[in-house]
Symmetry: C2
Subunit: 130 residues, 2 copies
DNA sequence: AAGTTATAATTACACTTGTAATCGTAATGT
DNA sequence: ACATTACGATTACAAGTGTAATTATAACTT
Protein backbone atom coordinates (compact mmCIF):
# COMPACT_ATOMS: atom_id res chain seq x y z
CA UNK A 1 0.00 0.00 0.00
CA UNK A 2 1.42 3.34 -1.00
CA UNK A 3 2.27 6.03 1.44
CA UNK A 4 -0.47 6.59 3.95
CA UNK A 5 0.16 10.18 4.97
CA UNK A 6 -1.05 11.11 8.46
CA UNK A 7 -2.85 14.33 9.26
CA UNK A 8 -0.32 17.01 10.00
CA UNK A 9 -1.18 20.32 11.60
CA UNK A 10 0.11 23.66 10.35
CA UNK A 11 2.68 24.01 13.11
CA UNK A 12 3.82 20.44 12.62
CA UNK A 13 4.17 21.08 8.91
CA UNK A 14 6.60 23.91 9.52
CA UNK A 15 8.81 21.60 11.52
CA UNK A 16 8.59 18.89 8.90
CA UNK A 17 9.43 21.37 6.22
CA UNK A 18 12.71 22.20 7.91
CA UNK A 19 13.50 18.52 8.18
CA UNK A 20 12.77 18.04 4.52
CA UNK A 21 15.37 20.66 3.72
CA UNK A 22 18.14 18.97 5.67
CA UNK A 23 18.12 15.76 7.56
CA UNK A 24 18.97 14.11 9.78
CA UNK A 25 18.94 17.01 12.19
CA UNK A 26 19.02 17.43 15.93
CA UNK A 27 16.23 19.18 17.80
CA UNK A 28 18.52 22.14 18.24
CA UNK A 29 19.36 22.34 14.56
CA UNK A 30 15.68 22.42 13.84
CA UNK A 31 14.91 25.02 16.47
CA UNK A 32 17.63 27.24 15.09
CA UNK A 33 16.49 26.93 11.49
CA UNK A 34 12.87 27.43 12.44
CA UNK A 35 13.68 30.53 14.41
CA UNK A 36 14.76 32.24 11.24
CA UNK A 37 11.10 32.15 10.37
CA UNK A 38 9.00 31.43 13.44
CA UNK A 39 9.54 32.83 16.93
CA UNK A 40 8.78 29.54 18.61
CA UNK A 41 10.08 28.46 21.95
CA UNK A 42 12.39 25.48 22.02
CA UNK A 43 9.86 23.60 24.15
CA UNK A 44 7.20 24.18 21.56
CA UNK A 45 9.33 22.74 18.81
CA UNK A 46 10.17 19.69 20.91
CA UNK A 47 6.49 19.10 21.52
CA UNK A 48 5.87 19.24 17.79
CA UNK A 49 8.71 16.82 17.16
CA UNK A 50 7.21 14.40 19.64
CA UNK A 51 3.83 14.62 18.03
CA UNK A 52 5.33 14.00 14.62
CA UNK A 53 7.10 10.93 15.97
CA UNK A 54 3.84 9.65 17.42
CA UNK A 55 2.14 10.17 14.09
CA UNK A 56 4.96 8.28 12.43
CA UNK A 57 5.74 11.23 10.21
CA UNK A 58 9.37 11.31 11.38
CA UNK A 59 11.80 8.96 13.05
CA UNK A 60 14.81 9.46 15.25
CA UNK A 61 18.04 7.78 15.99
CA UNK A 62 19.75 8.11 19.31
CA UNK A 63 23.07 9.82 19.03
CA UNK A 64 24.85 10.19 22.39
CA UNK A 65 22.58 12.29 24.56
CA UNK A 66 20.40 13.76 21.84
CA UNK A 67 18.42 12.53 18.88
CA UNK A 68 18.79 12.93 15.17
CA UNK A 69 15.46 13.22 13.41
CA UNK A 70 14.55 12.32 9.85
CA UNK A 71 11.33 12.46 7.83
CA UNK A 72 9.46 9.21 7.33
CA UNK A 73 7.13 10.62 4.74
CA UNK A 74 8.22 12.39 1.62
CA UNK A 75 7.35 15.97 0.94
CA UNK A 76 6.10 14.91 -2.45
CA UNK A 77 3.55 12.51 -0.96
CA UNK A 78 2.31 15.12 1.41
CA UNK A 79 2.05 17.74 -1.30
CA UNK A 80 0.18 15.43 -3.62
CA UNK A 81 -2.28 14.49 -0.92
CA UNK A 82 -2.98 18.04 0.20
CA UNK A 83 -3.31 19.31 -3.36
CA UNK A 84 -5.74 16.59 -4.26
CA UNK A 85 -7.77 17.19 -1.11
CA UNK A 86 -8.10 20.89 -1.87
CA UNK A 87 -8.94 20.45 -5.53
CA UNK A 88 -11.51 17.79 -4.72
CA UNK A 89 -13.09 19.92 -2.05
CA UNK A 90 -13.18 23.22 -3.87
CA UNK A 91 -13.34 22.26 -7.53
CA UNK A 92 -14.78 18.76 -7.55
CA UNK A 93 -11.49 17.36 -8.70
CA UNK A 94 -10.88 19.69 -11.61
CA UNK A 95 -7.67 21.62 -11.67
CA UNK A 96 -8.39 24.12 -14.40
CA UNK A 97 -10.84 26.22 -12.36
CA UNK A 98 -8.08 26.72 -9.83
CA UNK A 99 -5.76 27.93 -12.54
CA UNK A 100 -8.51 30.18 -13.87
CA UNK A 101 -8.98 31.62 -10.42
CA UNK A 102 -5.30 32.43 -10.16
CA UNK A 103 -5.37 33.98 -13.59
CA UNK A 104 -8.26 36.16 -12.62
CA UNK A 105 -6.40 37.29 -9.53
CA UNK A 106 -3.41 38.12 -11.71
CA UNK A 107 -1.36 35.63 -9.83
CA UNK A 108 0.10 34.15 -12.97
CA UNK A 109 3.55 35.30 -13.98
CA UNK A 110 5.34 34.77 -17.27
CA UNK A 111 7.32 31.98 -15.61
CA UNK A 112 4.14 30.19 -14.74
CA UNK A 113 2.81 30.57 -18.24
CA UNK A 114 5.97 29.16 -19.74
CA UNK A 115 5.86 26.25 -17.33
CA UNK A 116 2.22 25.61 -18.13
CA UNK A 117 2.94 25.55 -21.84
CA UNK A 118 5.65 23.03 -21.29
CA UNK A 119 3.40 20.87 -19.15
CA UNK A 120 0.76 20.97 -21.87
CA UNK A 121 3.10 20.03 -24.63
CA UNK A 122 4.47 17.15 -22.59
CA UNK A 123 0.95 15.99 -21.93
CA UNK A 124 0.14 16.11 -25.64
CA UNK A 125 3.28 14.25 -26.49
CA UNK A 126 2.36 11.52 -24.09
CA UNK A 127 -1.09 11.18 -25.56
CA UNK A 128 0.47 10.21 -28.89
CA UNK A 129 2.72 7.64 -27.28
CA UNK A 130 -0.15 5.68 -25.78
CA UNK B 1 -11.81 46.45 3.20
CA UNK B 2 -12.33 43.42 0.99
CA UNK B 3 -13.89 40.28 2.23
CA UNK B 4 -12.27 39.11 5.40
CA UNK B 5 -13.01 35.40 5.32
CA UNK B 6 -13.15 33.69 8.73
CA UNK B 7 -11.58 30.32 9.42
CA UNK B 8 -14.06 27.62 8.57
CA UNK B 9 -13.67 24.01 9.62
CA UNK B 10 -14.22 21.09 7.28
CA UNK B 11 -17.61 20.19 8.69
CA UNK B 12 -18.68 23.81 8.60
CA UNK B 13 -17.58 24.03 5.00
CA UNK B 14 -19.88 21.20 4.00
CA UNK B 15 -22.81 23.08 5.47
CA UNK B 16 -21.80 26.30 3.79
CA UNK B 17 -21.40 24.51 0.51
CA UNK B 18 -25.03 23.42 0.62
CA UNK B 19 -26.07 26.97 1.36
CA UNK B 20 -24.05 28.23 -1.56
CA UNK B 21 -26.01 25.94 -3.84
CA UNK B 22 -29.39 27.22 -2.76
CA UNK B 23 -30.27 29.91 -0.36
CA UNK B 24 -31.98 31.05 1.66
CA UNK B 25 -32.69 27.68 3.22
CA UNK B 26 -34.16 26.43 6.47
CA UNK B 27 -32.18 24.24 8.84
CA UNK B 28 -34.29 21.32 7.72
CA UNK B 29 -33.67 21.97 4.05
CA UNK B 30 -29.98 21.94 4.79
CA UNK B 31 -30.11 18.80 6.87
CA UNK B 32 -31.98 17.03 4.11
CA UNK B 33 -29.59 18.11 1.38
CA UNK B 34 -26.56 17.31 3.48
CA UNK B 35 -27.85 13.87 4.28
CA UNK B 36 -27.57 12.96 0.63
CA UNK B 37 -23.87 13.13 1.25
CA UNK B 38 -23.11 13.07 4.96
CA UNK B 39 -24.85 10.94 7.58
CA UNK B 40 -24.97 13.73 10.09
CA UNK B 41 -27.49 14.07 12.86
CA UNK B 42 -29.84 17.01 12.69
CA UNK B 43 -28.41 18.30 15.98
CA UNK B 44 -24.94 18.25 14.54
CA UNK B 45 -25.97 20.32 11.57
CA UNK B 46 -27.72 22.84 13.80
CA UNK B 47 -24.59 23.18 15.88
CA UNK B 48 -22.60 23.87 12.73
CA UNK B 49 -25.13 26.46 11.61
CA UNK B 50 -24.82 28.21 14.95
CA UNK B 51 -21.07 28.26 14.74
CA UNK B 52 -21.22 29.68 11.24
CA UNK B 53 -23.54 32.41 12.44
CA UNK B 54 -21.15 33.25 15.27
CA UNK B 55 -18.30 33.44 12.79
CA UNK B 56 -20.40 35.72 10.64
CA UNK B 57 -20.11 33.38 7.71
CA UNK B 58 -23.88 33.13 7.37
CA UNK B 59 -26.92 35.13 8.45
CA UNK B 60 -30.49 34.23 9.17
CA UNK B 61 -33.85 35.78 8.94
CA UNK B 62 -36.67 34.74 11.19
CA UNK B 63 -39.53 33.24 9.27
CA UNK B 64 -42.45 32.15 11.47
CA UNK B 65 -41.06 29.58 13.89
CA UNK B 66 -37.89 28.71 12.01
CA UNK B 67 -35.00 30.52 10.38
CA UNK B 68 -33.92 30.97 6.82
CA UNK B 69 -30.18 31.00 6.45
CA UNK B 70 -28.03 32.65 3.79
CA UNK B 71 -24.30 32.88 3.19
CA UNK B 72 -22.57 36.10 4.15
CA UNK B 73 -19.36 35.25 2.40
CA UNK B 74 -19.09 34.26 -1.21
CA UNK B 75 -17.83 30.90 -2.26
CA UNK B 76 -15.46 32.67 -4.62
CA UNK B 77 -13.78 34.56 -1.78
CA UNK B 78 -13.38 31.45 0.25
CA UNK B 79 -12.00 29.49 -2.67
CA UNK B 80 -9.50 32.19 -3.53
CA UNK B 81 -8.28 32.41 0.02
CA UNK B 82 -7.88 28.67 0.49
CA UNK B 83 -6.20 28.21 -2.86
CA UNK B 84 -3.72 30.95 -2.15
CA UNK B 85 -3.00 29.58 1.31
CA UNK B 86 -2.25 26.14 -0.08
CA UNK B 87 -0.13 27.34 -2.96
CA UNK B 88 1.83 29.65 -0.68
CA UNK B 89 2.42 26.90 1.84
CA UNK B 90 3.32 24.08 -0.51
CA UNK B 91 4.79 25.86 -3.54
CA UNK B 92 5.96 29.19 -2.24
CA UNK B 93 3.29 30.96 -4.18
CA UNK B 94 3.90 29.38 -7.55
CA UNK B 95 1.03 27.65 -9.25
CA UNK B 96 2.82 25.79 -11.99
CA UNK B 97 4.43 23.19 -9.72
CA UNK B 98 0.96 22.26 -8.58
CA UNK B 99 -0.14 21.78 -12.16
CA UNK B 100 3.00 19.79 -12.85
CA UNK B 101 2.22 17.57 -9.89
CA UNK B 102 -1.26 16.90 -11.19
CA UNK B 103 0.15 16.16 -14.62
CA UNK B 104 2.57 13.67 -13.16
CA UNK B 105 -0.27 11.97 -11.31
CA UNK B 106 -2.20 11.78 -14.57
CA UNK B 107 -4.90 13.88 -13.08
CA UNK B 108 -5.16 16.11 -16.12
CA UNK B 109 -7.95 15.36 -18.55
CA UNK B 110 -8.39 16.68 -22.06
CA UNK B 111 -10.94 19.13 -20.70
CA UNK B 112 -8.39 20.54 -18.32
CA UNK B 113 -5.84 20.87 -21.07
CA UNK B 114 -8.27 22.72 -23.29
CA UNK B 115 -9.18 25.02 -20.42
CA UNK B 116 -5.53 25.66 -19.65
CA UNK B 117 -4.84 26.58 -23.26
CA UNK B 118 -7.66 29.01 -23.20
CA UNK B 119 -6.44 30.56 -19.97
CA UNK B 120 -2.99 30.94 -21.45
CA UNK B 121 -4.19 32.57 -24.62
CA UNK B 122 -6.34 34.98 -22.64
CA UNK B 123 -3.37 35.81 -20.49
CA UNK B 124 -1.25 36.50 -23.55
CA UNK B 125 -3.93 38.61 -25.10
CA UNK B 126 -4.10 40.72 -22.01
CA UNK B 127 -0.38 41.23 -21.99
CA UNK B 128 -0.65 42.95 -25.36
CA UNK B 129 -3.50 45.15 -24.24
CA UNK B 130 -1.54 46.67 -21.39
C1' DA C 1 -56.10 27.00 27.98
C1' DA C 2 -53.17 23.01 28.41
C1' DG C 3 -50.47 19.57 26.41
C1' DT C 4 -47.55 18.37 22.75
C1' DT C 5 -44.18 19.31 19.49
C1' DA C 6 -40.93 21.57 16.54
C1' DT C 7 -37.16 24.87 16.78
C1' DA C 8 -33.46 27.19 18.40
C1' DA C 9 -30.17 27.86 22.40
C1' DT C 10 -27.28 25.94 25.67
C1' DT C 11 -24.45 22.45 27.36
C1' DA C 12 -21.45 18.26 26.83
C1' DC C 13 -17.45 15.86 26.04
C1' DA C 14 -13.41 13.78 23.94
C1' DC C 15 -9.77 14.87 20.63
C1' DT C 16 -6.62 18.01 18.31
C1' DT C 17 -3.77 22.04 18.20
C1' DG C 18 -0.91 25.90 19.69
C1' DT C 19 2.01 27.04 23.01
C1' DA C 20 4.65 26.06 26.49
C1' DA C 21 6.32 24.63 31.75
C1' DT C 22 7.78 21.06 34.70
C1' DC C 23 9.92 16.59 35.73
C1' DG C 24 13.27 12.94 35.38
C1' DT C 25 17.64 11.54 34.00
C1' DA C 26 21.96 11.07 31.85
C1' DA C 27 26.09 13.55 30.81
C1' DT C 28 29.47 17.15 32.11
C1' DG C 29 32.11 20.36 34.88
C1' DT C 30 34.75 20.93 39.03
C1' DA D 1 31.54 12.11 43.79
C1' DC D 2 28.43 15.95 43.62
C1' DA D 3 26.29 19.81 41.55
C1' DT D 4 24.77 21.56 37.37
C1' DT D 5 22.99 21.32 32.97
C1' DA D 6 21.25 19.78 28.72
C1' DC D 7 18.14 16.60 26.84
C1' DG D 8 13.89 14.13 26.14
C1' DA D 9 9.31 12.81 28.47
C1' DT D 10 5.37 14.09 30.72
C1' DT D 11 1.98 17.29 31.94
C1' DA D 12 -0.75 21.67 31.24
C1' DC D 13 -4.24 24.28 29.55
C1' DA D 14 -7.22 27.11 26.61
C1' DA D 15 -9.39 27.28 22.02
C1' DG D 16 -11.28 24.88 18.17
C1' DT D 17 -13.70 20.66 16.21
C1' DG D 18 -16.65 16.70 15.57
C1' DT D 19 -20.56 14.98 17.18
C1' DA D 20 -24.37 15.22 19.54
C1' DA D 21 -27.93 15.47 23.97
C1' DT D 22 -30.49 18.42 26.90
C1' DT D 23 -33.18 22.48 27.84
C1' DA D 24 -35.98 26.37 26.93
C1' DT D 25 -39.46 28.34 24.26
C1' DA D 26 -42.75 29.45 20.83
C1' DA D 27 -46.33 27.45 17.97
C1' DC D 28 -49.81 24.10 16.92
C1' DT D 29 -53.50 20.65 18.42
C1' DT D 30 -57.41 19.41 20.76
Amino acid sequence: MPNSVPDISDAEFSVLDVLWQHNPASANDIVEKLNEIKPWHEKTVKTLLNRLVKKQAISYEKQQRSYLYSPLIERESYVVKQSKTLVDKLFRGHLSPLVASFAQQSKLKKDDIAALKSIISDWEKEQQDD
